[in-house]
Amino acid sequence: MFKNLLTLFRYRVLIQSLVERELKARYRGSVLGFLWSFINPLLQLAIYWFVFSYIMPTRGSMGMSPYALFLFTGILPWTWFSSSVMESSAILISSGNLIKKILFPAEVLPIVVVLSNLVHFFLGLPILFAFLIYYGKVQTTLVYFPAIVVLQLFLTLGICFFVSALAVHFRDVQNIIGNLMMLWFFASPVIYSYLTIAPSIQRYLNYNPMTHILVGYQQILFTGEMGHWPWLLIMIPASLVTFLVGYYFFDRLRETFAEEV
């Protein structure tokens, strides 16, 4: 398994070109092209701002003000995570040609999914930062930002390895995942603040790794105090273990892919 893991490094050029291809192909043929990567999060922000300012104004309590911006700090990393997981549930099947017809390292596929969604996440950041600056919310905790991205990257990769391999054998996974992600969304502090939740419920939320990742983002980018750091320290080994377990599972099933997809 570790030998296979090391060969991943050899595929970096392949991974890089496939991510490039993914990004190029996504907006190919649309008039605005690559601009959509900026427009999409901008429109998303506008919708949240409209809904939570006019339709159901929230009391921007407990460090959630301005609320639309708070929401946006959570939505961006959440979108990276959920799109990656949902796309990876279909990726091995839709790329069956590669696995069956040419000698192709299958683990590259979920990696490409996660990385190309990471690029979309990054493309949304300038807009987030612009608003953070506008609202005077630039925090010194920003230096921890790369660390939490890496943390989320390993967590997401692990889950995507697991989901993509499982979906090959159980096509049901593709249907389940969509609903599961909806549930997961509400079980993660994106639209609400972790701190406003009753401790009895918080106890359960603590089992959700995305809770800590998202709280991490919100504190690093928005509130500027790192009260959640003990949990984030725990997330370092947790993410790594998720990654390794996910990869192990993928590696064990690897040889069945060519026959099952």
């Binding site: 070109s17 190919r28 040419i102 099933l253």
Partner: protein, 444 residues
Amino acid sequence: MGIAIQVSDVTKIYQRYSHRKQFRTLKSALLGGNLLAELRPDERFEALNDITFNVREGTTFAIIGRNGSGKSTLLKCIAGIAKPSAGTVAVKGRISALIELGAGFHPEITGRENIFINGIMLGLTKKEIRDRFDDIVDFAELEEFIDAPVKTYSSGMYMRLGFAVAIHVDPDVLLIDEVLAVGDEAFVHKCLDKIAEFRRRGKTIILVTHSLGLVEKMADEALWIDHSRVQLRGDPKKVVDAYLARVTHHEENALVAEEEKAVTEFESPKSAAEHDERESEIEPTSAFARKKGRWGSREVEVQEVTLHGADGTARHVFTTGDPVTVRLKVKSTGTIHDFVFGVAIFNADGMCCYGTNTHLEQFTPVKFSGEGEVRFVIPNLRLIEGTYFLDVAAHQRDGYPFDYHRALHQFRVQSKIKDVGIYRPAHRWEFSSNIVLKPPKSTS
């Protein structure tokens, strides 16, 4: 010369997970608590059984066999796409597999971008691709379209690009799986030329194909697999002949079965009146509408129709140029003075290739009683490859049918020459001395 590919005791078992019913899949696996255990198969299919062979460096090696015999699985094992369940495959040098052309193309991006990505997938570096880019585009004849998205390509263009990229990987070992079956004549020739160039440069080629002519022309050695096992390996000519003999045997059996079915189906005699009705009903309006049938008064009955080869044995499969005898076993109920025997050959399209009878050839019937045999002797079967149907008949000179068999008997003609038409006249080619051609290799 060293060994380029060594396949030792390779067995490949495909596993079917048929026990998993639709509604107890993920749930039962989760409840069972052991996902990996649940993924164990309970039904097995052996695609390859203990295959062993070597391919010497710089030789062209052909693998032949019927559909489903395991050829492609073997090729996938050599390419490393499938992993043998047992045994080992060792390949020396860079390998490029032409199993499905353009398998990695993305329809939305341009041909240029696809060349780069496909090249990287096949193991080239970016620099290598840049160096070969012009050659690839040139070979694929896609200069004008290289910056158009691949989804706008015709299937021929798509395939040309796929072949061009794969062949420019410049592998030490090239695996080709029937990919030459598609594509227009000109491009196929170009591909064959490229493959010939590979041979000259001392590269190793493994060719999986149904084109036996190609095997005899290009291969240094051939392997025939059937039912997952090696049947024969060695000189291509010898292997192809053995394979053809087996194919003939199978076709023979299939034709016998079909004929038995046809003859028993129309066994019961039909009266002349009934025949008239039938006739008007089934009179072929087009050449394609020939139905099987048997009718007639059976005053003279054609009891058995057999075709015989040079050695006198009854057969259903012949080779162009063979002598063939059609034997009709006939029986009359009394002494008959007005009778005609006829034979006609139709091809699979229902077109009459030839038909004649004793009356047309101006024999005058005198008398026939009891049992007898009629032989229609063809000293040299001048038909092209294909399946043919035989009509035989016994009737009166005015057409009143005794026993008419329409399309109940069939036979197959094989030919290594892929000539076309419905008839093959006896012929030869002659050239003046300033026109020089190499004569074909003797085909038998």
